[in-house]
Amino acid sequence: MNLTIDPEICTGCGSCEDTCPYEAIEVVDGLAVTNESCTLCGACVEVCPVEAITLPPKTAESQPDTGDYKGVWVFCEQRRGQLHSVGLELLGKGRELADQLGNELVAVIFGHNLDGMTPDLVRHGADKVLSVSDPALEHFTDDVYGQVLSSLIKEKKPEIVLCGATALGRSFFPGVAAMVGTGLTADCTELAIDPKNNQLLQTRPAFGGNIMATIVCPHHRPQMATVRPKVMRKPKPREDRGEIVDLRLPQGVEALSRVVDSIEETSQSALLAEAEIIVTAGRGIQDPKNLDLIRDLAELLGGAVGATRGVVDSGWIPYAHQVGQTGRTVSPKLYVAIGVSGAVQHVVGMQSSQVIVAVNNDPEASIFDVATYGLVGDLFEVVPAMIQRLKSAQGLG
């Protein structure tokens, strides 16, 4: 299958050529042509100023009637008897979607001895909780979790199934999608219902955050998506009014792997992901000894210390502190970027922070494109002044 480029419409302007991430399209004799590198990603379709390019149409499929599938499910992860907050955040979003579709919101939870956690799911918006408690689910394994969830989905036919993009969710959810035979969109930053056809519009960053893509799953059900922690807001708890349904382990579940040990290790990078305030050092600090400035400011603000890859690669601070595409994704209330240029790989890891403050002496630095408050100045002057002011506010001098 190929892209269709209408020769009557194409002006040979070259926008598509400049945009294609795969060098798969070029203008030859005033007309755009594709080569075999084309992956049909659609980037050129969007940029063509005259709408000359179209993706090949999808032939109608003999799919099960998507109308049989009803309800919004949220898989709520628990580890060691603790609910992960991303499940509650997704119940908030799920409530919105379910209300829009006029259907029920169902929380799904697996583990052993779950009674202490299920009421919280109802309080955060679930109409119903499907709780599967069994010793076989005490420890997470991809195979058992995957088989149980896919068998529930096949039996009860939900329209939408959401899951947190934690290590656990990112690992077992794709297996479920493959077993059920449907599409899955990872790490969505936005979910909405298309009022025209009730499809789930799943928006996520692609190409390292350089572009955003909205994805749909038109002919397969359920529509499945994962969302990273702290992207959606946790709803306010409300009066209980949901129902808790205890289910047994479905027949035929077979364990293919076994957890022989589970070690809890609150790593530095986990602390970073949880922190409400993060102060990040960029290469602008120039010398590892100047990390003390960053640490002092972080401590006075009650926050954690982050770093760019530039700083980590220089060996000034361990990798666990790295924020960005190849580090942690964080979403604190306050993110303070000091001497950080704002490379896209860094920005994708922190752009959903509620407030971003940047200190940089280059007024053109791209960090200012995302900073709520951009301070153009020398960090060696601005940061000590901030430290001084905070110290005096806290009666420290």
Binding site: M1, E17, E36, L40, P56, A167, V259, R389, A393
Partner: protein, 266 residues
């Protein structure tokens, strides 16, 4: 022990930028590289080979020029390779990709172990490995940071979790996806590089794999991209210039007034 490594050739995302005026991707100077995480997958497979003997095969689904990615990893010591290339594969989402790769694994195999990278940097989905395992109906473990033991029959690994790590045991054949902690990638040797130049890389199309065209590529993909756009800039941005002291106090006052920080600054 026969191991398969799945690698992907990706555009080097660090060079992709958005033209702020037209909101389009600027492709200038974008090279193709082997997905960095897949080099760790190769390293994991080669380390096992060093220990247990056997062979390591690399496989990729991509356009014809993805052959260069296969040759690159042969330079690290990968023994042979297969390229899955067919116009019918274009436009694959993770579901169709995992279908094609599973078919490829059956064709090139059988294998005792399949190793994938944690994720590909162009899509960052981390889905293809688990989906492939589910299709092949073999056990899988994602985000493996260490192989504790492997005797060719059974394997024990450490899997990175958000709150620590789990030690997981399973029987082979199986699939793992690995993170960068698995070990530093070795340097290509001159001998292997020379060998890689000469080694034939067979190409398999949909028909060779016995793959249904309706399950491949765009046609076989349940998901569809309906819109691509530049991330929207944050609203309410302010840029301040002035005396450092003034800037420091001004921002702290604002943060305090908005209750973002607890310190009272007035």
């Amino acid at each position: 022990m026969r191991t398969l490594v799945c690698i992907k050739q990706v555009p080097d995302t660090k060079n992709i930028k958005i033209d702020p005026e037209t909101n389009t991707l600027i492709r200038q100077g974008v090279e193709s590289i082997v997905n960095p995480f897949d080099l760790f997958a190769c390293e994991a497979a080669l380390a096992l080979k060093d220990q247990l003997g056997g062979t390591v095969t690399a496989m990729t689904m991509g356009p014809p020029q993805a052959e260069s990615a296969l040759r690159e990893v042969m330079g690290l010591g990968v023994d042979d390779a297969g390229l899955l290339a067919d116009q019918a594969f274009a436009g694959s989402d993770t579901w169709a990709t995992s279908y094609t790769l599973a078919k490829g694994a059956e064709k090139l195999g059988p294998f005792d172990l399949i190793v994938c990278g944690k994720q590909a940097i162009d899509g960052d989905t981390a889905q293809v490995g688990p989906e492939m395992a589910a299709r092949l109906n073999i056990p899988y473990v994602s985000f493996v940071r260490r192989i504790v033991s492997c005797d060719g029959q059974e394997m024990t690994v450490e899997r990175l979790m958000d709150d620590g790590y789990d030690v997981v045991t399973f029987k082979l054949p199986a699939l793992v996806t690995v993170v960068k902690e698995i070990g530093e990638v070795r340097v290509p040797s001159f001998k292997n590089k020379m060998k890689a130049k000469k080694c034939p890389v067979p190409v398999y199309g949909a028909a060779d794999l016995g793959a249904e065209e309706s399950s491949c590529g765009l046609e076989g993909s349940p998901t569809r991209v309906v819109r691509i756009f530049a991330p929207k800039p944050r609203d309410n941005r302010e840029k301040w210039e002035g005396e450092p002291e003034e800037l420091a106090v001004r921002v702290l006052k604002r943060l305090s007034a908005d209750k973002i920080i607890t310190a009272a600054i007035d």
